[in-house]
């Protein structure tokens, strides 16, 4: 995702726009959204030792 998010593969002369936004910026923002979704999915699963930690708190 970092590879897609950082726009190293675009020419500095590019002027393409889509819905009023530079296309490279839209792709970069999309990659950031992708990272957020991946992180949230990763965090939706219990961590190892989670049951142990919770049990200790009780």
């Amino acid at each position: 995702m970092l590879v897609v998010a950082v726009p190293w593969y675009w020419s500095s002369a590019s002027t393409q726009q889509w819905i009023g936004m530079p296309v490279w910026a839209l792709i970069s923002i999309g990659a950031s959204l992708g990272v957020s979704i991946l992180v949230a999915w990763q965090l939706s699963r219990p961590w190892e030792n989670e049951v142990d930690s919770e049990g200790r708190d009780q």
Binding site: L2, P7, S14, A25, I29, S32, V35, V39, P46, R56
Partner: protein
């Protein structure tokens, strides 16, 4: 073009006054809800922070006054290049993933209060804990002073009083408010006020976007205007190769450093449960899209509208004030909305300052005073000392903020992350690799800090080849820590489960493995 807001009328000042009084009331509620005179209760709220409060305190602490003031100015000056801020704010949550699961588990098992507690348990090296604690305190002290200077500047010119007087009154007034609620309620007061401030911030960002779109037009129009002007076309063009290197540098520096903020680490300890922490972080992963992206849009739209003023007339932290003044002048509703936005700006500054202050106070009390000066002191004594240390640090920070009124602290603030990232091997590698040894980690830390400071202050521009000096220091730091640990495996004595403290680094992993 003037940078000051129009002075607030009685209604505006009453709203700000009500907001500040509500913070004091929350401090008193925190005092009433205290459960014991212990460090864990005062500095971590009894480790009982629930999902909503944890999310809002993480949010309010992570997004400081810099996000509103400096980020808008950066986007104004550099255009979409500043999209890197969206990525580095997201990267902080990514790096949390490497840290939080094990650190949370260990903090419950060993009752950690400060980041130094983890280092002591993991590496059992007094000098290293002292060095790391001083490093963290110095790094975030700059941050505290920076927030207090921004508080003074935020109130400057607002009441119509002369600049000096308003600045000093602003610093003193807000310092007193923070001191009262933090001394009364400790961590509980800080996170509850953070919750109010977090909500205000969310409302503020939404308001800012609506006001700017309504007043100046859409982002698409701004992009077209910028692209059509040869002087500003580069602001919407893709960054050059060198600028892409700077992007990566920012993402690594702020991502790693932001996850290692002591106040952020302590919020991991303070979560009521692992599930609570997981859910809060999952939502945090999306918040850069609702905050950082908003201020970038505001900066870009402002630049399209005011490209004539150029960048020389507009310092980074003045752009938002220029935008707000224009909105104030546009209508009565505009004036009222700016009052709410101003409260959000105060919220951003105060929520970061109070969290940083409590974190400094806990580290000085527990990791320096309690560990080295009074090792046998009771929890109640340490908690009392902690409150005094809070007052002393806050008073000193306020005095420095007043004395340095006309100084630019940006250079000092830049060094904050250079220092903080040198803790990365001890945390990120130390949590996952049992063979990492205290000696090489300590040596790596010292070398990393030295390289960062020499490059940061000795090289023109402070960023050799576009990379932050902290990354060069971190590379050397990691190499020394890893190679040194591989060449110096734990001796059988260190592995003995009965050894008192030296074997801690091995035992901790035996116990934490599933």
């Amino acid at each position: 073009m003037t940078n000051d807001l129009l002075p607030f009328g009685p209604v505006g000042l009453a709203f700000i006054g009500f907001y500040l009084c509500s913070l004091l009331a929350i401090g008193w509620l925190g005092y009433r809800r205290r459960e014991a005179s212990t460090m864990a209760d005062f500095f971590l709220g009894g480790r009982s922070t629930g999902f909503v409060v944890l999310l809002l305190t993480l949010y309010a602490t992570q997004y400081s006054g810099n996000t509103l003031f400096l980020f808008t100015g950066k986007a104004f000056r550099t255009g979409y290049w500043w999209l890197t801020s969206l990525h580095f704010m997201t990267a902080i949550v990514v790096f949390y993933l490497l840290l939080a699961p094990r650190l949370y588990h260990l903090s419950r098992r060993h009752r950690f209060v400060t980041p130094g507690d983890y280092l002591d348990r993991r590496f059992a090296s007094g000098p290293m804990v002292l060095f790391a604690t001083l490093l963290m305190v110095v790094a975030i002290c700059n941050y505290l002073i920076g927030q207090m200077m921004a508080m003074g500047r935020a109130l400057e010119g607002l009441t119509g009083a002369s600049g000096d007087k308003a600045y000093i009154c602003g610093v003193v007034l807000l310092t007193l408010v923070i001191l009262i609620y933090e001394s009364l309620g400790g961590f509980r007061a800080v996170v509850w006020t953070d919750a109010v401030q977090g909500i205000l911030l969310l409302v503020g960002f939404a308001l800012l976007l609506v006001m700017v779109l309504n007043r100046f037009g859409t982002l698409g129009e701004a992009n077209r205007m910028l692209a059509a002007d040869p002087e500003t076309a580069s602001l919407v063009a893709p960054p050059s190769s060198r600028q892409c290197v700077q992007w990566v540098s920012y993402i690594l520096m702020v991502g790693i450093g932001g996850a290692l903020y002591p106040q952020a680490v302590q919020r991991i300890y303070a979560a009521r449960s692992a599930g609570t922490l997981r859910r809060s972080l999952a939502v945090m992963a999306f918040l850069p899209l609702t905050t950082t992206l908003v201020v970038i849009a505001v900066g870009v739209i402002a630049r399209a509208h005011w490209s004539s003023i150029g960048t020389a007339d507009a310092k980074d932290n003045a752009v938002l004030a220029i935008v707000c003044r224009d909105i104030q002048q546009s209508s009565l509703l505009g004036r009222l909305l700016v009052v709410v936005l101003f409260a959000a700006i105060l919220a951003a500054l105060m929520s970061t300052a109070d969290s940083v202050l409590l974190s400094i106070s806990s580290m000085v009390t527990k990791d320096i005073y309690g560990r080295f000066l009074r090792p046998n002191a009771s929890e109640a004594h340490l908690t009392r000392v902690g409150k005094w240390i809070t007052a002393v640090f806050l008073a000193a920070a306020a005095a420095i903020a007043i004395a340095l009124r006309d100084t630019d602290l940006i250079k000092l603030l830049d060094r904050k992350f250079d220092l903080l990232v040198q803790m990365a091997p001890a945390f990120f590698i130390g949590l996952h690799w049992a063979r990492l040894r205290s000696g090489p980690v300590f040596a790596g830390m010292i070398v990393g800090v030295a390289i960062s400071l020499v490059l940061g202050y000795g090289v023109e521009g402070g960023k050799p080849w576009g990379l932050h000096p902290g990354l060069y220091g971190l590379a050397a730091n990691v190499l020394i820590a890893v190679i040194g640990s591989r060449c110096n495996p734990p001796s059988p004595r260190h592995l003995a489960p009965s050894s008192d403290r030296i074997g801690a680094e091995t035992r901790i992993f035996e116990k934490s493995m599933p």
